[in-house]
Symmetry: C2
Subunit: 338 residues, 2 copies
């Protein structure tokens, strides 16, 4: 198995290299190509790795978070991100790409270089999110790639999300719901109301109807489908609320009695565990779905463990051949390209 | 001051009467008319109240949560909700209405009976939500009345939300932001991008640009504007996430060491305080903005204290004459009705 790592886009390029080392040490049959500034990558490698499973592809440019995605992808041809995706597209022995770089640029590069799967109207970004059930995640598609959508886009997100949950978590016949402002059929904005019958008629998914945003975190749904604007609001509201509640508890304990303060100290391990559940660095990466390569987006602030996990995620998706699975499940749908 | 209370729509009609009693006992110049089944209301009154500030208006019908709003409002003319809003419209001595009934029906009745303020394209429902800053709330408009919106609707929500925050919290020149998928200008779906310049040019508000959903709960914004579908997603995601985080902490403590369990017991008062901050019953009611009456929506499960608070909210909005304030701040905007 061969994975290519964009070693430069995230906040901690050194940690990206360390993540690659961790991954090859863990998986005997894994090879990694790191795209990045050779002198920097080699410095970390020489100090921490003596094997021969990691090679370096020298890239002189970096796409940063300040770059405008479309311009950066067009102009920075020698950037670690563009080169990583181009190599994955051109070399059939490469199984997947991992990058913690600029999300917009990664989506743009995925679309223009890896190219959309024939029949898919729009690729999307699929993160997996924790639920109240320990260890059970769900997938939110789209969570930000496409701010304005049509029903056919949401149908494709549903099909892809379903394949993704099967490939990533091994769950058979995952439930798919559409995010709406009420659970009853008939609730929703125009987009939801038009998409509902389309999802009902999609044979390759297990559509279970509308879901309200307050119910998505309790483990009853495997795939939640929405336009990228609503998905971004749900995703960011989860992050903000979790942070806010933790802060409120902390303040309430801090301003409480001495007994409450002692209680606060005693529950610290429990809070730490919860923090790690909610922490993006502890979670799986997001995956760009609908393009003809496996492209995993690690969080920008990913460190060693998180990069390693994202590499393993790309391996798993390659082993389960998610791209072929999506292609198969598209058959029977109205062909978007014709 | 005279407030009319729909005594029948919520889960606890007895508690609605108790809330009215609490309010008149607290405010010497307050009179309340309770619309509801006279025998039921009088029974609670005879056992708990001996004054003459509460009168009863007998209504033989009730609009329930199972009713279809438009049909119920048209057909159940003798319902407590319809009669309460009609009386408030027809009797100029009545200052406001409080109801804990079916939200959709209340919005419908507000629109068709109380009528829209001239120049307002769409009324909306404005809840005030807690933030990480103790005691500081913000207002989310619209949070569910209008699933599909146009830029002019959002402009009106912004103007009304701004008047509302001034009237309810006494905050001068409140900040108004538009909910988007990125903070930078230019981010957003088509609706947000089209609304942005309109809000920039609205002189009666203090527009500060886009806000991401993860930032709305930290007390930096007074009014957050969005379409009712996105607002519903943000609102319900906040509820769901807060519940989920509390459950996770509880489980983590329950499955933790004996010391953690003791810690859990010790922090109970802090958690209880937090729960009451997040609890709708402890919060102010939502207000229907943009109609020619003051109509406060109490939560369906409101009890005595919450009903009393909603009555006080209606009194405060009447004292600050929010309807006139909205009418004044509309002047200078493109006239929607002409």
């Amino acid at each position: 198995m061969k994975i290519i790592l964009d070693g430069q886009g995230g906040d901690y390029p050194d940690q990206a290299v360390m993540g690659a080392i961790k991954a090859v040490n863990k998986h005997k049959d894994l090879e990694i190509i790191i795209c990045g500034k050779a002198e920097e990558v080699n410095k970390v490698l020489s100090e921490n790795y003596s094997g021969n499973k990691i090679t370096v592809c020298d890239c002189r440019e970096v796409i940063t978070n300040d770059d405008v995605p479309t311009i950066a992808v067009r102009q920075k041809k020698d950037s670690s991100m563009v080169k990583a995706i181009r190599m994955a597209k051109e070399d059939p022995t490469i199984d997947g790409v991992v990058s913690s770089g600029n999300t917009g640029a990664l989506l743009t590069a995925s679309l223009f270089i890896a190219k959309r799967i024939k029949g898919i109207s729009r690729p999307c970004l699929a993160p997996s999110l924790p639920t109240a059930i320990d260890g059970k995640c769900f997938v939110l598609v789209d969570c930000g790639a496409n701010a304005d959508c049509r029903p056919i886009n949401l149908q494709h997100f549903a099909v892809m999300g379903s394949c993704y949950v099967e490939s990533l978590f091994g769950r058979k016949n995952p439930t798919v719901a559409i995010l709406s402002n009420g659970q009853e059929k008939g609730k929703g904005n125009e987009l939801v109301k038009e998409t509902y019958p389309l999802l009902e008629s999609t044979k390759s998914i297990n559509f279970v109807g509308n879901v309200e945003a307050r119910d998505i975190l309790f483990g009853d749904y495997d795939v939640v489908v929405c336009d990228g604007f609503s998905g971004n609001i749900a995703l960011k509201t989860i992050e903000g609320t979790a942070l806010c509640v933790m802060r409120m508890i902390k303040n309430s304990i801090k301003n409480g009695s001495i007994l409450q303060k002692i209680g606060g100290l005693l529950i610290k391990p429990a809070v730490r565990k919860l923090k790690s559940t909610m922490d993006v660095n502890e979670q799986a990466g997001g995956t760009v779905l609908g393009v003809d390569s496996i492209i995993v987006k690690a969080h920008g602030s990913s460190k060693e463990a998180s990069i390693c996990r994202c590499i393993e995620q790309a391996m798993l998706l390659a082993q389960n051949d998610i791209v072929s699975k999506i292609k198969t499940n598209l058959s029977g749908l109205e062909d978007y390209d014709n």
